[in-house]
Amino acid sequence: MWRTPEVRAEAARLMACFRDAGAIEVEADVLLPADTLLDLYGEDIRARAFTTADPLRGEQMLRPDFTVPVVQMHMAEGAEPARYTYAGKVFRRQEEDPDRETEYLQVGYELFDGADPAGADAEVFARIAGCLQGLPVTATTGDMGLLIAAVDGLSTTARRKAALRRHIWRPARFRALLERYSGRAPVPPTRAALLACEGDPLKGAGKAIGLRTAEEIRDRIAALHEDAAEAPLSGEETRLLSAILSLKGPAEGALKQLRDLAREMASLTPALDRFEARLEALAARGIDAGALEFAGSHGRASMEYYDGFVFAFAADARPELPPVATGGRYDALTGVLGQGNSIPAVGGVIRPGVTLALREGGA
């Protein structure tokens, strides 16, 4: 639906809305080096992005979103604070559903500002909400930072916390790890046999082939021994995690419940202070912040990407339509792209094809 002049006009209108907020208009290449995206997102990106090859530049991908090129451009030449807007097509492979579009327009707004994270979160959300004004959409919000803080607050080893953090975006494996660490899942027989092995488990194990060395294997075995000696996660703590993940409701009530939970887990408090500051910053921008829908697990199903405030706007009466707008904070992604040199960043995109469908089709 990007083809019609109406959609292009809608995109131009949304972009003007972002320009009015002081955003600089930027462009990005359609062909991006595949290795950057693969390194960032892993093999899953191949199922979502079109891959092609250039004889000289190697494997390329048709941009699946603007975030990576905009971050790279900002890191190369930008000064803070910076606001960018862009409009253009993104390309997505659809292996499951032929009714979903493989190319569509996105109009985005990205803000790089480390001075006031709560203010930056609120600015991006309020700006997108403002550009969507009059449309029958409702927002859902979440906070990946809260989940990360909850994992960090578990009374267990750094290694277990790192493993859980790594899988926050993969709910199935996260749950499997929790089951194992809390002693509810049985130890696989192969693991039990390895741990019971007296003497050198590598003796007679076979020829050492490949890059992974015997030393790496011994290190992991040592880690497994340490982990087996570790006390299981307490029932209270796993219940606390589940309570956060299943939390749903208006933000004001959610904050109150989370403050209650924080009495059992002090590590939540800084994240909740940020949550509260964000609600205040949103209210200062005229958003009815306390009534915003909050979901504890919102943002987990997205790509490994957002690590703070997350949000989505959807048309409730039109469940067949994709989300109208999505966004969030992605400080960690800038850290990976900047080789450790991270920049606080938050942004979001609107799909003009969808906003136009809402304007034309009514609610």
Binding site: E43, R46, H167, R173, K207, A208, I209, G210
Partner: protein
């Protein structure tokens, strides 16, 4: 118009397919010289034989250029997204059994499950600065399987043959490939993960759901189904 039956053009898969049809009263054979890809079907009228590479049969079925085809169920699942909307499994043929599995070096005594593989991949990436490489030609099936299992920090590298040798040659750390006896894996110092196979494949007779048929072709398909003893 005849209906078109696609059959693998060489090797044991072709011979066993001929045998399977022969045991059910449909006589398929190659005609002309050994090298000419031509064949004939006896015992039933209106069926034309199309000899094709087993790897191309899924595509031909999906495009509706052949009505029936014999190929491995692994190839159909790998090559056709949403395969069950494009083709219908008429009968497993009981040969060409092979499991699509993940195998790692046998001396990785700490890796036997997907959970282990995931943890080893995380540590490997941290130490070597790149993702753990898994060589395969079954990209879609393997990626989907690992995504569902929540395995991260790996990358697939393409290997269209001799995949079992890639670890020894330093182009991959692990592999995903089909195996029937596991002998080639063992000979290359690899072991299979203690998980259910990604897919248990065998030679299967498929019907295209996209190939148009006229009344005469429908009658031929019915007659062939009865002759072969297929349900429906």
């Amino acid at each position: 118009m005849s209906i078109r039956l696609g059959v693998p053009s060489k090797g044991r898969l072709m011979e066993k397919t001929f045998d399977w049809f022969g045991e059910r009263g449909v006589d398929i054979r190659r005609t002309g010289s050994d090298r000419e890809y031509a064949g004939a079907v006896g015992g039933i009228d209106g069926v034309e034989l199309v000899l094709l590479s087993a790897g191309e049969i899924p595509r031909e079925l999906a495009a509706g250029r052949i009505h029936l085809g014999v190929t491995g169920s692994d190839l159909v699942r790998e090559k056709l997204p949403r395969w069950d909307r494009l083709v219908q499994e008429l009968a497993p043929l009981g040969f060409g059994h092979a499991d699509l599995v993940i195998a790692v070096p046998k001396f990785w005594v700490d890796v036997d499950t997907l959970d282990d593989l995931d943890a080893a991949a995380a540590a490997f990436r941290a130490r070597h600065g790149h993702r753990l490489r898994l060589a395969t030609k079954y990209h879609r099936l393997v990626r989907e399987y690992l995504r569902r299992a929540g395995v991260a920090d790996y990358q697939l590298v393409d290997s269209q043959g001799a995949t079992e040798g890639t670890v020894k040659h330093g182009t991959a750390e692990a592999i995903a490939d089909i195996t029937s006896s596991g002998e080639t894996l063992r000979a290359n110092h690899l072991k299979i993960l203690e998980e259910a196979p990604i897919h248990q494949s065998q030679a299967t007779l498929f019907r295209s759901l996209t190939a148009p048929t006229d009344e005469g072709q429908d009658r031929t398909l019915d007659a062939l189904s009865r002759t072969l003893g297929l349900a429906g």
